[in-house]
């Protein structure tokens, strides 16, 4: 039994926000600091290192290039799924959301293949600080992708029933899930050149 919380789906007039939107932005702010600390670690380790390999010598650039495009595409389908809901088209929403999840799964599969290739060439996190930061950053990013897949999967499947009872709130949920998803994409946009190209 819970009470009705004000501004759960309608925006508060003076702030122009509904609760979850402010909430997710605050969460993303903390995520910025989380990845910020890791980027800071990267810079410190790299500037202090005697030698630092160029990412492309160890890592597979073409495959990561493909993965970058996949993730960008998933961001577009995500925002399209929200736009479809705004226009009242649930069918399209389901299609775009399914595509988003598909892209995420492709990304994860490629990532798993990459990890496997590294291990089979006996590249482990303990080998060097470069590999250590590579596995930590991409691993943590991968966990974020998995989290996003779970949330999006829920909204695509069982969560959709809210569309019938409270369409406004459901659309908000998609927007909030989208904000998170775009952020995960945004982190990758920085990870890709930093780890693979420089």
């Amino acid at each position: 039994m819970s009470v009705a919380i004000p501004f759960n789906s309608e925006p508060r007039p003076d702030t122009g926000l509904y609760n979850a939107k402010l909430g997710v932005w605050l969460f993303l702010a903390s995520e910025v600091m989380l990845f910020g600390a890791l980027f800071s670690t990267y810079i410190l380790l790299r500037t202090a290192a005697v030698e630092w390999p160029q990412g492309s010598e160890i890592l597979d650039v073409p495959i990561a290039f493909f993965n970058t495009l996949v993730l960008i595409a998933s961001s577009v389908t995500m925002v399209m799924s929200w736009a479809s809901l705004k226009m009242g088209d649930v069918g399209k929403f389901r299609l775009y959301m399914a595509l988003t999840i598909l892209c995420a799964l492709i990304f994860l599969a490629v990532k798993a293949y990459e990890y496997g290739a590294k291990f089979s060439h006996h590249h482990y996190p303990s080998d060097s600080t470069f590999l250590a930061i590579y596995f930590t950053l991409t691993g943590l990013h991968g966990l974020h992708i998995i989290g996003g897949v779970i949330v999006n999967g829920y909204l695509w499947g069982p969560g959709l029933k809210m569309w019938k009872s409270d369409p406004e709130r459901f659309t908000n949920r998609i927007e909030v899930a989208g904000l998170y998803w775009h952020f995960v994409d945004l982190v990758w946009i920085f990870l890709f050149p930093v780890l693979y190209l420089l």
């Binding site: 122009g16 402010l22 960008i72 705004k86 920085f190 890709f192």
Partner: protein
């Protein structure tokens, strides 16, 4: 504002597609640049510059930061400041080794 009417959204869709195109092109550019023979320093600046442009596109259009309400912009500004503070940590070891 966060309230998007159906017509506005329809106009947005076009923008989303353009942003998608821009992101794809910029990704190609990043990779292409990395194959050029540029010194590490400038290459790094260039790559991060492109990444920042891409990141801004995602934030401004997909995350609708363009025209977002003040409360969120201020929160992000605050976060950005502390992010920069965090980025200054690696500096700390170098301040004394250089003659400032």
């Amino acid at each position: 504002m966060s309230g998007h009417s159906a017509e506005e959204v329809r106009a947005h869709v076009k923008i989303y597609m353009m942003v998608f195109g821009a992101l794809a092109v910029l990704t190609v550019v990043t990779v292409a640049v990395s194959y050029l023979d540029i010194a590490v320093g400038p290459a790094m600046v260039l790559a991060l510059l492109i990444a920042t442009v891409k990141g801004s596109l995602v934030a401004l259009f997909f995350m609708h930061l363009k025209g977002e309400v003040r409360a969120i912009l201020w929160t992000l500004l605050l976060t950005a400041f502390f992010f920069l503070v965090l980025m200054s940590v690696p500096l700390s070891g170098y301040l004394d080794s250089t003659s400032l």
